[in-house]
Amino acid sequence: MALEVRIVTPRKVVWEGTANAVQAPGELGEFGVLPKHIPYLTTLRPGPVTVDTAQGKLVFHVGVGFAEAGPDRVTILAETCEEK
């Protein structure tokens, strides 16, 4: 069981792939998503998003945006995003 992760900005799809876990800076605080998460929608504060893949951890810096999480997927939409 893994998460389908997509990080999208108006310029391009920054990253797309499967991951074991995702951490992101939500409006009300940092949150983590593991598989089988309840459907969840939150706005994001600018900060680091950590994607835990089988190959290791990836860190992205996102700007204003929001994240949508479900049992098997996470979509992060942000105005800006840089891979660290």
Partner: protein
């Protein structure tokens, strides 16, 4: 009849025009490719954002947000026109500008106060000639789209919420295909959002659905504007490419006709000279 030298000069000038138009066509084609690429790249974001907003709107039930509320009396209207800085792109600017003018006249006739915002020199100049002064003038550079869109959407949102105007319209050319660009009018404020009908999953919102909507709506507006800018850009290059392609073909036809004429008169001149020589020799 034109002299040989006249025709020669004419051919040379048409040839150099042809070189220019075909170079412009190449440039437009290259720019078009880049523009469509960035428009395509922006699409996943738009799709995802739109579907999320629709789902949130459906989930939140009775949605009321200042940006979504239609005012009972509309007295002041903002019209945003996105055009191009350069000409030589067939009817790309004039088709849209004519529709804008029509719309402006209608607004004026019904006694509404109009503020005009133009992007691109061509739109500004046309409307200025018709006596419509734009509030501010903005050039277009692909590199600064993000900033331009942010500034524009902030301005619109603030003005709308502050009661400076009751409606905002956007005029631009929708990029349908390389051959067709459709002048399009969209009402950008108040925003209209269709709640999706699909049986939506119950989401947990953090913060509340309405607050999230408050964050998403300005993003949605920005995305809409950005898309308009990108499509406009792609449309401009596509239109110019088509126009320059036609011009190049016309130049080739003209060169062909002129060359034919040139050869004919050259032959006629030679024949005439021969006749003169022969008859001169016979006279001796």
């Amino acid at each position: 009849m034109a002299s040989l030298r006249d025709i020669r000069t004419r051919i040379a000038s048409v040839k150099s025009t042809k070189q220019i138009t075909s170079a412009m066509k190449m440039v437009a084609a290259a720019k078009l490719r880049r523009a469509t690429e960035s428009a395509t790249n922006a699409r996943p974001y738009q799709t995802a954002l739109t579907s999320t907003i629709q789902r949130v709107a459906a989930g939140a039930g009775d949605v009321s947000h200042p940006l979504l509320t239609t005012r009972p009396a509309i007295t002041r209207v903002v019209v945003v026109v996105i055009g191009s800085d350069r000409g030589l792109c067939a009817g790309f600017n004039s088709n849209r500008d004519r529709r804008v003018e029509e719309f402006l006249n209608k607004l004026k006739a019904s006694g509404k106060q109009v503020t005009l915002l133009t992007f691109g020199k061509k739109a500004r100049d046309f409307l200025k000639n018709r006596g419509w002064a734009s509030e501010n003038v903005n050039s277009l550079t692909a590199a600064t789209y993000a900033d331009a869109v942010r500034a524009l959407s902030d301005k619109l949102t603030a003005g709308f919420e502050g009661g400076e105007f009751d409606e905002a319209w956007l005029y631009y050319n929708r990029f349908k295909s390389t051959l067709t660009q459709v002048p399009t009018a969209v009402r950008v404020l108040p925003l209209s959002i269709e709640a999706s009908d699909e049986a939506s999953v119950e989401y947990t919102y953090e913060p509340s659905g309405i607050e999230i909507l408050g964050t998403l709506l300005p993003l949605y507006l920005r995305t809409m504007l950005l898309q308009a800018f990108l499509e406009n850009e792609a449309g401009e290059h596509a239109s110019r490419m088509t126009a320059m392609d036609n011009a190049t073909r016309n130049a080739s036809d003209l060169i062909g006709r002129l060359t034919l004429e040139y050869n004919r008169s050259r032959q006629a001149a030679i024949t005439r000279e021969l006749i003169e020589i022969i008859s001169g020799a016979e006279a001796l």
